[in-house]
Amino acid sequence: MTSEPNESTGVSFKSAASVTLKRVVRFMSFRVLMLLVTIVIGVYTTILIANMGGYVDTIMRNNIRETTIMKVAAMTANKPIAPEARQKMVGDLIRLEEKRLGLDTPFVVRSFRYLFNALKLDLGRAQYMVSDSGSRTVRLILLERLPATLLLMGSSQLILFFSSVFLALMLSRSYGSFWDKLVITLSPTSAAPPWFYGIFFILIFAAIFKILPFGGMVSAPPPETTIGYSLDVLKHLILPASSLIISSFFLSIYTWRTFFLIYSSEDYVDMAKAKGLAPRDIERRYILRPTLPTIITNFSLLVIGLWTGATITETVFLWPGLGRTIYRAIGYYDTAVIVGSTIIFAYLLAFTVFLLDFIYALVDPRVKVGGGNN
């Protein structure tokens, strides 16, 4: 605990507590400031990249010009109209469309406007994309896809995380056993991405055995009852979720097993064994407990990672998730959607990092919030 060096020795407990409070508050404000700066830089960089540093404007202008000329040509095909009037019509329509998309203000000005709106979580309206319900509001476009992504990513990543941590802990206690060697041998299977397994799963279970659907999230027409609907979604979930799990399963176990192996050769683990503690107590209190900060970090990063979705796997399985939405947004140069999903991710990440500082202090007595600044 840090205290002012010239404080009198007779300080009461109350002033010590206020010193602690002051330190924590100072640390927190500094931390929030730093995270905000990071978010601003990150989001602005995303805006620049998504717009190709302003080049997207040129692409869009050419695009508008081309479509407008075609449109006017089609409109005036059977009418006698002077070329000047047609030119004027084209010019007017282009100006109108550019104004609608905000291209009449310079990109630099607009980039900062995007930034401030994004920071205010005012995600604005999409330029081309439309939500399934017909809205151009970015918030709706993203929210509409969120449940599907959370269902797929949430189920697969949580199963993956907990099963691999649990199995890894068991393997680390039986180093060199058959199962241990098997996992090590199989860990290179994770070199193949999830959609690779997805394609094979579709081939085997959908095309050959015809027991599971090829893709999508629900049958057409969807079942009427709630239970029927849930079961149907579950049936559609099996293949994409298991290809996401399988593709990281063995590597994940291998990584955690090595991690636990390092920590289970600590002297205090040997000591716990010498003390005659039951293996379960040793695992819980002497291996898991000291490594809790790392496990929590991994878990919380995984949870916010759910937000990004799994683009290609979703595409292969026609799963209506966020990953595909963002992929389509990139294809359309629809910056509002790209920036919208980025800013939410950035805020989630910053909030998690901020929270982790306090969680560390809770689970590890060696860590003090804002400590070490003496």
Partner: protein
């Protein structure tokens, strides 16, 4: 074995490790006995297998064990024959506890030291937490750690205090035998002296037996009833402490004693030429022969263990 009155009886204990270079014979046929309320000091150079001996007796084996055999009787229980779970319940911390080499790393950094000291009471005697903590407080007082340290974490204690906590932990279930693996080698001289005085007091008050593993011959003489000298994975001499410090029998023991600096002596501290042999391919015959000033033709053969009264020495000179 029931008729003898040994507390600990080790017979032909072997612990070999598998390495990429070959088999390391860290403990190779060790025999020795210990009576109740005795303290035996195991001395020897670094790398002669002292710590491996402790690990073998305590069954704290690393992953690369190749051979682990022999007989260890503790309180007339053949511990080597016990299943792991039986061994854990009947031997670990009930009959035999350990004070580790580096108390720094031997305490869990995220649990309060009081909880760690009380833990064996709850595990082995099934007592309630409050009762176990009472016992822990008693032990803290016994080893001279302020009672309010019970709620501290290991990183908040000094090295000496941590060592005392480790000692309190080893005594909390009042086991008959405490193994001390170089308990003071990381501490300053004053703290060392304190801890040895403490050990002496505990030995007389609690009638505990000690196996003290050390390379600090001078300090260990404080506590020792018996001295066992280890060389290259074998015990080469076991003697009464009084006799050993006056006139050690084995040439290696003599050299070891001569290497201890003396305050007012004309003799320079002696040293032993050469290196201890590699334990991967130890020499046949007497393992000390290459460095021995008194070697002769017979040393090429494996020396017998000669029993002199209660003592024993593994050397051709005494045949």
């Amino acid at each position: 074995m029931a008729e003898n009155n040994y507390l600990l009886d080790i017979q032909d204990l072997k612990l070999h490790f598998r390495t990429t270079k070959g088999t390391v014979q860290a403990v190779d046929g060790v025999n020795f006995q210990l009576k109740p309320n005795q303290a035996v000091v195991v001395v020897g150079e670094s790398g002669c297998g002292k710590t491996s001996l402790a690990k073998a007796v305590l069954r704290l084996l690393p992953r690369n064990v190749e051979q682990y055999s022999g007989k260890v009787y503790l309180d007339d229980i053949e511990t080597m024959a016990l299943e792991d779970e039986d061994y854990r319940k009947r031997i670990r911390w009930v009959k035999m506890s350990l004070v580790p080499q580096a108390a720094m790393n031997s305490l869990n950094p995220v649990l309060r030291v009081g909880d760690q000291v009380a833990e064996p009471m709850m595990v082995h005697y099934g007592v309630k937490k409050e009762e176990a903590m009472q016992q822990a407080i008693k032990m803290f007082q016994h080893v001279g750690v302020p009672v309010d340290f019970i709620n501290r974490y290991a990183f908040e204690l000094s090295g000496g205090m941590r060592q005392r906590v480790a000692l309190a932990m080893s005594l909390v279930t009042a086991p008959a035998l405490v193994m001390l693996d170089e308990p003071t080698s990381a501490l300053d001289v004053l703290t060392q002296a304190n801890i040895f005085n403490l050990l002496k007091r505990i030995k007389s008050e609690m009638a505990t037996s000690f196996v003290l593993i050390t390379h600090d011959i001078a300090t260990s003489s404080e506590l020792a009833d018996r001295v066992a000298v280890m060389y290259a994975g074998q015990i080469v001499e076991v003697s009464d402490a009084f006799h050993f410090f006056k006139e050690p029998r084995h040439p290696y023991s003599a050299k070891l004693m001569a290497s201890v600096p003396k305050l007012r002596g004309t003799a320079e501290p002696d040293f032993i030429t050469g290196q201890p042999p590699s334990l991967i391919n130890p020499p046949t015959g007497c393992r000390f022969a290459a460095r021995c000033p008194r070697r002769f033709a017979k040393c090429a053969d494996e020396p017998p263990t000669v029993i002199i009264g209660e003592d024993l020495v593994k050397c051709w000179l005494y045949v």
